[in-house]
Amino acid sequence: MSLGQVFCWIAFFAALAAGLSFMAAAGGREGAWRPARIAYRVQWVALLGATAFLWYILFTHQFQYQYVASYSSRAMPSRYVYAAFWGGQEGTFVLWALITCSLGLVLMRLKHALTAPAMFFLNLPLVMLSLVTVMRGPFLLFPGGRIPLDGQGLNPLLQDPWMTIHPPVLFTGFSSLVAPFAIAMAALVKRDYDGWVKVVLPWSVFSLGILATGFIMGGVWAYKVLGWGGYWGWDPVENGSFIPWLSNIALVHGLLVQRVTGSLRRTNFFLAITSYVLVLYASFLTRSGVLADFSVHSFVNLGLNGFLLSFLFLVMTVGYGGLLIRLRDIPGPAQPLGNFSRESMMWLGQLVFMLMCALVAVGMSAPLITRLFGPPSNVQTSYYNLVNAPLAIAMGLLLGIAPLMRWRKQEAKAFLMAALPAVVAALVLALAAAALGVRDPIPMAVLFGAAFALAANTIVTVRGFRAGWKHGIAYLGHLGAATLLIGIIASSNYGRSVQVQLPEGQERAALGYRLRFEGMRQDREGKDHAMIAVNAPERRFEALPYMFWSEFNQGYMKKPHIERFVTHDIYISPLDMAGADPSARGVWFEKGETKQIGQAKYTFVDFDRQMGSELVRVAARMRVEIGGRTVPVRPVLEMNMKSGIPNSIPDYLPGGGSVQIASVDPNTGRVALEVPGMPRAQSGSILAVEVSTKPLINLVWLGAIVMLASAFMSVLRRVLDLKRTAPAQA
């Protein structure tokens, strides 16, 4: 057994011990606290050990470990080796456990009656997670002592600075939702139906901010690297972290209402439990392989379906079961929700978030739902835009209305007076948008709502900050959200886009820009990029989108060029490249010649010819040395004598790459081959690109940054609140 596996076992048993001791401590045995803390810390150290060991075997290239061989390679730049940690599912379970456990260390410091039971519930998923790392962890060796010479490497798509930090950030957010769940369960056990609000608020706001950070990093990566022009693709993985986030944001607003008015007690328990249930449900969907046919992501089924399902059902049973038992014991609202008041508007806002959450969840579960009635089907991504647009209108309006209202009771007349400036500002913005060409009713309505929210929150933010930063900080977040919404509507609905073919050296027009493809160039890392001279009315620039061969994916990796302006981006995304002349595409071989191309060594042995009356077949007998072994490869070129159409039949290499005859020279007996990793044709090629504009895309980034700043300052505010009420504690 490897050292890593030993660490996992220690973590598992320490989690069991900690769980039992926390239970005893929660039951009132003071003596159980010490062993509970010790066991919990042992668990954390063991997980830290497992983490360190995984990095150690990755950096020392110990390919006898299946995980190391699957997700790293010798050739990989060292700054990406550490990211191979979370390159595969097995590693992410270790990461998930470590982050959950670290957050528990913070929670454990709080001296509060709820701490012991909360730690018990936080420890529950840790038992499950460390069990996974023991069963399917990243420390499994190849059977029979096999040691590959090199690993497979990490998907080059993931070899990007944003991508190396994005997964741990998203995982921190994902894992952190365990804290609201655990604190809510502790409150149910201890029948402390109001006291938990202050304890849970910093955690809940923290989850909100850190998950949003993860989304934004993922969005930046998608926009800058993937090249399809968007930042959010409604992919199952994105949806999977979006639905718990929506439920959690509903919880945050409910907690604020409960703190002021003493209502929504049951709702808040429900939301805290649901947020974590959704985390586990999304993990199950994306990791179980249920969606394998419906996503371009590779969802590998590790055989953990039963386990993930029981994990989900355990948390659902404990969570909803606990709530049901206490349901009648939880007192009703201290004061009824007002009819026309800030809290009633926040309650409606919660409803909007939960409706979004439900509709997105239905969409991502489509393959499961449709399986009940017939063949499993998926919804197109347009589904998500269709269902969320009307809700976004409601969200924008509520976002503006609620902060303008008073708690408990609002006079309609006074409200109208307060809202008037914001309504006027929103109308002006909407008219400006109409003048710029916004005609469709739904984007127009969303824009109006967002503009109203923007104006209203500007007013309340300024007013709030005058009274002290604590009073303005939440409104600042709303300001960011409204800005973000405007940016989303503008950039996704009103950009122009066209696909254009660029023959080398010739100028072509697209969207009023003049583009000339000037050939390919290699950068210092050996990656090819295209050089396109662009003559735009704004400025002249040289676009350098990447287009390089990837051994890993056996295909071309593309990365767009983004030319940034204040009001918009010009987005040039390479689509494909074709050589105009096939003979210029290949690498020429003499008989008996050997050449090293990419990671393999090719030797051309001889031709096999077959002459028919209609068909001539020429096969090239090749020997290829790849990954330490030599394999015969035999690509074929067929020529139909009547039609004169050649047909090239490739042969495949062990790794999946293909070898194909590009051309045969019968006079000299030479053959031109297309092989993986060969240099690109340097001339006579046609580059296909998509040129598009992204109006007001900067508002997306600006709004997102403002929202994040607000979220993290709110965490600080809530922590200060918690400390002030309990000065002797923590």
Binding site: Q152, S298, V300, G303, L348, L355, P376, I686
Partner: protein
């Protein structure tokens, strides 16, 4: 009934109606070739490349090929648009589109390539 309850019920009704109609409008069932021939709506079929006799015209962005499902049935597919870069190495092809006039016109192609990464991981999962 007070204002906020009316608003809430209204929101829920709108969400329900839009949810159901959008779901029905955008759902693309994965169906067999025989079913695709009979249906008129947007559907999803998948299969492997039946043979290498495909026609690819980069400049016109045109592709026509035949796919074969696991029952051995063959379906001709036509596609206008940007051709996926590693089309000829596809282990399986998902085509989203409509069937009419004896062929399947794809609006979108998803090409899955031999991924050693996935195969290895599956092996690892089984052998342990």
């Amino acid at each position: 009934m007070n204002l906020k309850v009316i608003l809430a019920l209204g929101l829920m009704a709108v969400a329900l109606v839009i949810g159901v109609t959008s779901f029905n409008k955008t759902v693309t069932p994965y169906i067999s070739f025989a079913e695709a021939r009979r249906s008129s709506g947007l559907v999803q079929v998948n299969g492997v490349l039946a043979d290498k006799q495909y026609v690819m015209k980069q400049e016109q962005q045109y592709l026509s090929f035949r796919i074969k499902d696991d029952r051995g049935e063959v379906l001709p597919v036509e596609y206008h648009g940007v051709i996926p870069g590693n089309f000829d190495q596809a282990t399986s092809i998902v085509a989203i589109g409509r069937y009419h006039d004896g062929k399947f016109t794809a609006e979108q192609l998803l090409v899955k390539c031999p991924s050693k990464y996935q195969a290895e991981a599956e092996k690892a999962g089984r052998s342990s």
